[in-house]
Amino acid sequence: MSPNARIVLLALAGLVLLPGAAAVIAGLPAFGSTIAQYGERINAVAPEARHVANMVSAINFDLRGLDTLGEEFMLLAAITGTVVLLRGRRGEGNTERAMRRPGRAVIPRSEAVVLACRIAGPLTALFGLYVVLHATVTPGGGFQGGVILASGTLLIYLGEGYAGWRDAIRSHWLDALEGGGALLFALCGLAPMLTGAAFMQNILPLGTFRDLFSGGLMLVENLGVALAVTGGFTQLFLEFMEETREAREPEEPGEESA
């Protein structure tokens, strides 16, 4: 289809859909006037019923925990697909060593960069852990903290170079983190059923409100999500970085002396 035909088709579709969209927007409640009853009820009930201060975590890990389980496996499937597609072409055997980009000089890093990364890296990891652990108390949780932790590992690459990064990050540890996190979340759903409770029912002691240990089963689920997100996102970085390196071609051995 030619580009012009596509634009015409898009414009036609837009014209058809525009009255419907306008009607829907006009029918929405005025911005900022009211919120949905469901959210209102959760705000009113959940601090008392679950002893947690963070309502978003209460929804993600308890009230709508089943949906998060689905999301967790969507994450797992997307990352598995990415890894399979990238590794499928490159081969499993090459993931163990740091491959070198042929023909590109290794530029030494300035000491300022190394020092900044060595200071910022642990601090970022600490901040990520803080965000993960305080999921039920203050803004944060496994998803947000996991992404911060995964980003922190990139500072190793920035400071220590690619080979140092590959030494610190082991690919199958990441596989284990990611799969283990998803498994932990699924087990959190199944374990209460052993005691005769419902799927993902919060059977652990709920702890005290506004305390680090509050929310019961939510803490374990949160940990599972944090593991899965940390492992998954680091795995994504790793696979994409590996993609920029070319596999050593066996027929031209003189190439790799860069």
Partner: protein, 135 residues
């Protein structure tokens, strides 16, 4: 004024869709999809907002203080995480398409054939190649 957030969401979705329809580069296309997706963030957060409310975290404020809708915020969180991994997956597919077809242009995408069936004639520019079904 009260429909402004919804209008912003509709506009973001519209320009994202326009970008997808007119895209000549897969990476640009994935970026446009991200713009479309950010429209959903604006829409969801706009739907959940209420003037004079706090964030739904009852740490500094006692429970019972009017707070915005936490369900929408949880939905946006889900949306962002899934969006990030989906972007990664699409970029991988882009890499695959580039390696197989040698081009990032969606117009030049050819149907894939079984390897070894007809040699390597992917680069040939036959008219009507896109119409043919891979059988």
């Amino acid at each position: 004024m009260s429909v402004l957030p919804y209008a912003v969401a509709a506009w973001l979705f519209g320009i994202g869709l326009y970008g997808i329809a007119t895209s000549r580069n897969f990476i640009h296309l994935v970026g446009c999809l991200g713009v479309c997706q950010s429209a959903t963030y604006v829409l969801l957060l706009g739907l959940g907002y209420r003037w004079g409310s706090i964030a739904p975290i009852f740490y500094d404020h006692p429970p019972g203080t009017p707070a915005v809708d936490p369900v929408m915020q949880a939905l946006v969180l889900t949306d962002i995480v899934v969006g990030a991994t989906l972007t990664a997956l699409l970029l991988v597919l882009t890499i695959q398409a580039y390696k197989r077809g040698g081009s990032l242009d969606p117009e030049k995408l050819r149907p894939m054939r079984a390897v070894g069936q007809s040699g390597r004639d992917r680069g040939s520019n036959r008219v009507g190649d896109g119409e043919r079904k891979a059988s």
